[in-house]
Assembly symmetry: C2
Homo-oligomer: 269 residues x 2
């Protein structure tokens, strides 16, 4: 997966801070570009980084808390101003369309491209997207509202002895945000090369973490270890923790190959 | 107006660029803080600058193009997370409430503060806000959709000979965005100390400017001269113009005391 990389557009939690914006990341798998979550500012960060939207065809939204979807209307309106003609596919819970449609009708009625909503069920583990080289599966998570992560699988066609073809998974990337500690996800993400797992709180804030159904850095590391992940990326930091290295300090003793997501980071997958 | 200043939170036009975000600015008049327009990213910029929202009671929205209002839902939701209890007053065209209400009901139903919508008529010049030391008037503008600017007047109580009090205007700040060249606004803003006038295009793009009902830098300077403004601030730059000093070059020969708005700028009023 030489050309495959992750670009962190936002890795803060709901309250933005001096250094973090709400959630959003680009998953580039060879010639495919996927946007995962779209909090406020995601478009602005893409523009600052000079990232083009032409190859972006699909958007995946984990849940409908504002810090994961408030940037959508600005993005979709801007694509219209950029004279986009190719369809945009949005994979999200049905409520998103209900909320977005009136805004699109008002602000973006003259767009020259189709927006195709694909309703997903966050409680079910299933394949929601598949093309020749990539498939995407939902990862049911445990959060205050229905939420799912996404498992990106890069696949390769392999010729079988009888001459037919099989799709073999080469590498996997799992996005798990937002969620409290949940071992139920382990079988779904087992063997994943790269795992992004939310790490909103530190150990000292464990009680708060359970209350609002988020994870600590140690929770994320435990899941990475149980799932035999290759690498763990922490993110979705609480606004209360200015020094993100504290998250790393708590995760590394449990899962050594852990790194911090920081905005504008580009991470090889 | 020693403590009075303007903070530029966003001064780009609809398409964000590497250096500009959509419109938004804070008007601080003594102990009062007003937000004018709220494009995507305005909250993020406030957080980056360490600006507190506690003293912000009133928001004025010039028109309902997305680059002037898409940041509202994120701001209002965040205020709820910050446990705000004091009411927020929003002065805008009635359509804004229609668009925002479903989002507020879904994302921000448990907020502990009231949002009070004050419908305004952008076609009429009238006082829409008045307290002991500040009044705000609408400035009807000419744009693709109904739009008004806002005239902030700092007033002072003066004791009259008969012992009663009168309110005398001390200083004025006019926000005029978005608009094409319109001399109709001159009587309304005449004698204003500081004028922010949109300057989306350069002279070479004049045709485009008229087509989309925006102004050139020269248009802004002509209005400033006709209105005997003290100072002109340019903003709302087209994404096509990277070097903002070109706007200054075209405005200064017509109105010398012109400056450029740039994001994060704090300008004394």
């Amino acid at each position: 997966m030489a050309d495959s990389r992750l670009t962190i557009l936002g890795c803060g939690s709901a309250k933005p801070t001096k250094t973090t914006s709400p959630s959003g990341q680009l998953v580039d798998l060879h010639d495919k570009r996927f946007l995962v979550d779209c909090g406020e500012g995601v478009l602005l960060t893409m523009q600052r980084l000079g990232i083009r939207t032409g190859r972006l065809y699909s958007i995946f939204i984990s849940h409908l808390h504002g810090d994961h979807c408030f940037g959508l209307i600005g993005l979709l309106t801007t694509l219209s101003m950029l004279k986009r003609t190719q369809p945009m596919h949005i994979y999200a819970q049905p409520d998103l369309q209900k909320l977005l449609q009136p805004l699109l009708d008002y602000h973006c009625a003259d767009r020259q491209y189709d927006i195709v909503f694909h309703p997903i069920n966050p409680r079910k583990h299933e394949v929601i997207y598949r093309d020749r080289t990539v498939s995407v599966e939902t990862i049911p998570l445990k959060h205050g509202v229905p939420t799912c992560g996404f498992l990106f699988c890069e696949t390769r066609r392999v010729k079988k002895e009888d001459g037919s073809f099989d799709h073999v998974t080469r590498k996997k990337y799992a996005y798990c945000s937002d969620t409290q500690y949940s071992e139920k996800i382990v079988p779904v993400i087992d063997g994943v090369e790269t795992l992004y797992h939310e790490s909103t709180f530190l150990q000292s804030m464990e009680e708060r973490s359970k209350e609002v159904k988020h994870s600590t850095a140690a929770d994320a590391a435990k899941i990475a270890a149980l799932a035999h992940a290759g690498k763990l990326i922490l993110g979705h930091y609480s606004a209360r923790v200015e020094d993100h290295s504290l998250f790393l300090d708590e995760a590394k003793p449990i899962f050594e190959n852990t790194i911090l997501a920081e905005e504008n980071d580009v991470i090889e997958l």
